[in-house]
Symmetry: C2
Subunit: 345 residues, 2 copies
DNA sequence: CACGGCGATGTAAACGGTTTCATAAAATTG
DNA sequence: CAATTTTATGAAACCGTTTACATCGCCGTG
């Protein structure tokens, strides 16, 4: 395939001129430029991006490291990242499923020289040391990090506040036996949500240590299994807070199978507000977070770090997580209504 | 940051030796290799992948061009691609949202030199010419292409057969007023599914031209809107085939809002078998396709083209789409039972 | 008219690796 | 022990760009 030399030869100029035509149009005489362009088209010349990266040490691409790609949540993040990046002419080098530190490090290594920065979401992987090791060579933006790393940008979702609001909503409706289906142990998102739930309970004078927490892994099946567990208990919890919508959906399925009505027999709250949440039966009350926006913001921070004044500080942003009330929690429980006239409808 | 020269200097060898240590370990003396490795660790040397690509003209990465990333379907494809690629040591350069030919071409251009092949899914974009233009420089594997391109691998889902089976299922249950919510016009997947639906109708002696087809775009909202339309018709269709699950879910939401029961008042079939389909209320009868497997197969074909014997033919695979019966279609309609004793339970 | 400045272009040195070829030392062979 | 093969390494070319610097007319100015 044609290289810049072929084009130069065809146009009767030097390779420098060809390069200038493609980069600094204005440095070269109009007629010459035209001649070069024609030659380039004739040769069907496509510049080699690897060579470009090498000389400019600049790739117009960002690396993205994700834990895994399950479900709409991650895919929305990627969508946000991709859209924002493309908008600024950047490409995305993707790599998912990173468990260990070694894994993350290898992935980062394999990206060196082909990306201008790295966005990482490793809720249960990567230690601070790993991140800082990478940071020595590349700008880094963390998504929902479980820790603070020096000199890295970070965008987080306010998992704690969202979970607290969700739980308080249930408490406000009069529920006291509120179980939770948790996310994977060691996952920072799951962690924040669990803490928010417990904080809400504590705020109402309930003992968080006595709370019923069923383990889960953010997948539908786990929600389903946990649901069967919880709904089989006596006394059965009157409400369940699932750490994400996928598990809430699994729970809804379990309830259906057990003949347990939602919200009459048990109230359900999720987290994420997947697109489908509003179309479920019943429509799911959940905590809305803007995964797409999370991705976009991450790129925005990265762009600031890469293109902005070198000394741009490591910005740290938190995106809100707000409760969206639909129908899966029903109306206030009778007992609660009796206690609090304000809640009467 | 340290380059190969720094390592060479630190180890007291030439850069050739360092390179050999990293690539053909066995060509160099054990002691020397050890010394080099130590020097590399001391310098914290990470090879520059762009430079590597330039000399070897080999990047260990594949480009992936997608229409957009909406919903679990696409994210599952990416997941399959990513997993399989990583398994063979390849990275993924992602780029989505390509509408026009020019768009696709630019994206491909921007990848030249940094990928060893291109996987494209452009259900409504890219013409054959565009694809073949790209094919001149890179191996290409198409996902669910609407056309045949010379010398390109292709993996497709049997949309036609799946849609036909779904529709025949409804016909078999006794339904005759079967409406469809279609996918976006010009989208080849949507197209295949619509054709399958019409073929099934025709096979039962019904006139496909008289079929009620509501337009859609594969999103929940469209399914919801189309659902309101369809359920408001008189006479109301007794069954609806949605071109994908997302729209079926929107439809389910609409039915709920209208007080129309599923499956008693209207039967619903979807397409895709999203993870959540089985947990819906009622569990959704749908056509199962293996999006994850689609991605994996695409990579497998690509690997064969890249690593295999140069003359590897352009393989063309079709993945099955099989009906998964759950509860959203209910039991045979009375009229049908009367007509066909075989259907009586 | 000599000269400084400018606009247009070419030359050549990077960028950071891999790989061919040459070479020297060591090992093997008859 | 000489001849030959093998092993280990280095020198240098090369991959396809960008860009600093040099060159060369040409124009306007004093």
């Amino acid at each position: 395939m044609a290289t810049i030399r072929d084009v130069a030869r065809a146009a009767g100029v030097s390779i420098a001129t060809v390069s200038r035509v493609f980069n600094n149009q204005d440095l070269v005489n109009d007629e010459t430029a035209l001649r070069v362009m024609q030659a380039a088209v004739a040769c069907d010349y496509w510049p080699n991006e690897a060579a470009k990266s090498l000389t400019t040490s600049h790739s117009n691409a960002f690396g993205v490291l994700l834990p895994d790609l399950f479900g709409e949540f991650y895919s929305e993040i990627i969508r946000g990242i991709d859209h924002r990046a493309r908008q600024s002419g950047y490409q995305i080098l993707l790599s998912s499923s990173h468990a260990s530190n070694e894994d993350v490090l290898n992935a980062a290594r394999a990206m060196l020289g082909r990306v201008d920065g790295l966005m990482m979401m490793t809720p249960d992987g990567a230690s601070v040391e790993t991140v800082e090791r990478i940071r020595k060579r590349l700008p880094v933006v963390l998504l929902n990090p479980g820790f603070l790393a020096a000199d890295c940008g970070a965008v987080s979702v306010d998992n704690f506040a969202g979970a607290k609001a969700a739980t308080e909503h249930l408490l406000g409706l009069g529920h006291r036996e509120i179980a939770m289906i948790a996310g994977p142990a060691g996952n920072s998102d799951a962690d924040g949500r669990r803490r928010g739930y417990q904080a809400a309970l504590a705020g109402f004078g309930l003992d968080p240590a006595r709370a019923v927490i069923e383990p889960g892994d953010f997948r539908e099946t786990a929600g389903h299994a946990a649901g069967l567990q919880l709904l089989g208990r006596t006394p059965r919890p009157t409400a369940v807070f699932a750490a994400n919508d996928s598990m809430a959906i699994g729970l809804l399925g379990a309830a259906r199978e057990c003949g347990v009505r939602v919200p009459e027999d048990v109230a359900v709250v999720g987290f994420d507000d997947l697109t489908i949440a509003r179309y479920l039966n019943p429509p799911l009350t959940t905590v809305t977070i803007d995964a797409y926006g999370l991705g976009r913001r991450a790129v925005a921070l990265m762009l600031a770090a890469v293109e902005g004044d070198a000394g741009s500080p490591a910005v740290r942003e938190t995106l809100p997580a707000v409760l969206t009330v639909r129908e899966s929690c029903g109306t206030p429980r009778r007992a609660a209504v009796a206690q609090s006239p304000l809640l009467r409808r």
